[in-house]
């Protein structure tokens, strides 16, 4: 079975500062990894995904994440955040190779302050 731990429930940051949202996973098999974002009063939107290949993955809105197999991590980063990045971010994992269910972390609320 897989599990996901998002180490920070809330992350406050000032506008234009860099941010890192941490995600660690546990799995005995190969996995795919995802970051989803939920803006206020909206659904889940895919930010980026790691399926295979390069361990540095670039997503929408200037976000990127790095898959580290030895540390079983998939941390999300952005070099300079905007007020509009205020949202809840979810890390998710699934077994690789098809259409399996997603296992989500508890979410991290990113609050960007002016």
């Amino acid at each position: 079975a897989q599990s996901v731990t998002q180490l920070d429930s809330q992350v406050p940051v000032f506008e234009e500062a860099p941010v890192e949202l941490r995600c660690n996973y546990s799995s005995s098999v190969s996995v795919y990894l995802f970051w989803y974002v939920q803006y206020p009063n909206q659904g889940l939107q895919l930010l980026l995904k790691y399926l295979s290949g390069s361990t540095l993955v670039k997503g929408i809105n200037g976000f990127e994440a790095e898959f580290n197999k030895s540390q079983t991590s998939f941390h999300l980063r952005k070099p300079s955040v905007h007020i509009s990045d205020t949202a809840e971010y979810f890390c998710a994992v699934t077994k690789s190779g098809g259409y399996n269910k997603l296992i989500f972390g508890a979410g991290t609320r990113l609050a960007v302050h002016p």
């Binding site: 909206q42 259409y99 269910k101």
Partner: protein, 113 residues
């Protein structure tokens, strides 16, 4: 291309009543998933359809929940009778056959009074 649509967006019912949630997946997506988030906890998997067949229903909490996907298009999730602990946000997602990622709808916020 239309995304995954869910309705109602919000439903408020009393304990003991019945509620039916509906999900329309992206056209051509054979895989349809239901998830829910209760009381700010993790988003948890409920079940997975491939076309009209239930592929995995390991996350269904109990027999008060009934999911259907007649004809392999839209899906419904019925809760009967609703209990207080069923309150939360119910998400639907869809994906193409054998391909990630899953695309999510905006969710249905269910409040049981």
């Amino acid at each position: 291309e239309a995304g995954v649509t869910q309705f109602p967006s919000h439903s408020v019912i009393e304990k003991g009543q019945t509620v039916t949630l509906r999900c329309d997946p992206i056209s051509g997506h054979d895989n349809l998933y239901w998830y829910r988030r209760v009381m700010g906890k993790e988003i948890k998997f409920l079940l997975h359809f491939v076309k009209e067949s239930k592929q995995d229903e390991s996350g269904m909490p109990n027999n008060r929940f009934l999911a259907e996907r007649t004809g392999g298009t839209y899906s419904t999730l019925k809760v009967q009778p609703a209990e207080l602990e069923d309150s939360g946000v119910y998400f639907c997602a869809s994906s193409q056959d054998g391909v990630q990622p899953q695309h999510f709808g905006d969710g249905t916020r269910l409040s049981i009074l």
